[in-house]
């Protein structure tokens, strides 16, 4: 069971906007528990789709200079409808700012005309070596792995 909550990046305006899609399938194990007779993508994983989309805008803009890109603050994350197996969600994130160590975004997820989720959030980005120089190799490993994932998600 992989923890990647977008399937493909469909468009990028560097440092500004990114759209991605996520297909929801019964093959996703957690749907068996959420919920047993009413499988829907958990709300926090919708947020994760937005976070991942935004993270790629950061990594691209900063040229993968930071290994760690994490959620710092999420506000007013509103769940408006359900995402069920068979549906495809389109995420759009808009960057308000992207700096070296912090960025802020607004994002929405829609399925056709129906809005599923909307959020405002900030990310923080850093290298483990910032705190502990011995972690520089680990930073390198993470970045290499994320670059591979980038190739999977985005074809220019």
């Amino acid at each position: 069971m992989k923890f990647i909550l977008i399937d493909k990046i469909t468009a990028i305006e560097p440092a500004k906007t990114l759209t991605a899609i996520k297909s929801v399938s019964l093959a996703e194990e957690y749907l068996a528990d959420h919920f047993p007779i009413f499988p829907v993508l958990p709300g926090v994983l919708l947020l994760e789709g937005l976070i991942e989309s935004a993270s790629w805008l950061v990594r691209q803009k900063n040229q993968f200079a930071q290994s760690m890109v994490l959620l710092e603050n999420a506000r007013n994350v509103r769940y408006k409808s359900f995402a069920a197996p068979g549906m495809q969600i389109q995420y759009t994130v808009n960057a308000k700012t992207i700096e070296d160590n912090t960025s802020s975004f607004t994002g929405v997820g829609v399925c056709g005309n129906e809005e599923i989720v909307a959020a405002q959030f900030t990310l923080r980005h850093f290298n483990l070596a910032d705190e502990n120089p011995k972690m520089a190799m680990t930073d390198g490993q993470i970045v290499e792995n994320m670059k591979k994932r980038w190739k999977l998600l985005w074809t220019e």
């Binding site: 069971m1 992989k2 923890f3 990647i4 194990e29 957690y30 068996a32 528990d33 959420h34 919920f35 047993p36 007779i37 009413f38 958990p42 709300g43 926090v44 994983l45 947020l47 994760e48 976070i51 290994s67 760690m68 994490l70 959620l71 710092e72 603050n73 999420a74 506000r75 007013n76 994350v77 509103r78 769940y79 409808s81 359900f82 959020a119 483990l128 680990t138 490993q141 993470i142 792995n145 994320m146």
Partner: protein, 162 residues
């Protein structure tokens, strides 16, 4: 991957507050994708752990009559990341509750270290149909959640240590 993000209850005051615990372990597959080379608990799953703690608290306050669903994350702030081997505690408190909804505030801690502060809004979907169709029975509070809570209650009754 099971969709249960808390391991046990440590404290439970019906209608008021609850404390749950989660162990973070390398056995959790998803950690290996987040991130490859440096596994940490995804922030969104920390939000879910809080949502489950607070959701059970809210559901129990109304005898699990309604389906309690996370409707809004008012605010979630994270101060530190959490790694395998860590144990986090989720401290949730009901701020407001009505027949239609509930609002909760909470903190996630690792020992004494504050990891996150999270405030949530839950909707009692039977009262807020909003034109969507749902199955009749309470699919939200599955056996998994009931056994977490009853496990805690039994231990308390037996005078055991949480």
């Amino acid at each position: 991957m099971r969709w249960i993000w808390i391991d046990k209850f440590l404290e439970f005051e019906s209608g008021k507050r609850a404390v749950a615990l989660k162990n973070v372990t390398l056995a959790e597959e998803h950690l290996h994708d987040h991130f490859p080379g440096f596994p940490i608990m995804p922030e969104c799953l920390m939000i879910e752990a809080m949502a489950q703690t607070a959701g059970i608290l809210v559901g129990e306050a109304r005898q699990f009559q309604e389906k309690v669903i996370l409707a809004k994350i008012k605010n979630a702030v994270f101060y530190h990341y959490v790694q395998p081997g860590d144990t986090i505690t989720l401290h949730a408190e009901i701020e407001s509750i009505s027949p239609e909804a509930a609002s909760t505030i909470g903190q996630i801690k690792r020992g004494d270290t504050l990891i996150a502060q999270i405030s949530l809004m839950f909707s009692h979907v039977d009262k807020n149909l909003a034109g969507k169709q749902f199955p009749q029975e309470n699919f939200v509070f599955t056996d998994m959640f009931h056994s977490l809570l009853s496990g805690f209650m039994e231990q308390k009754a037996a005078g055991g240590k949480g």
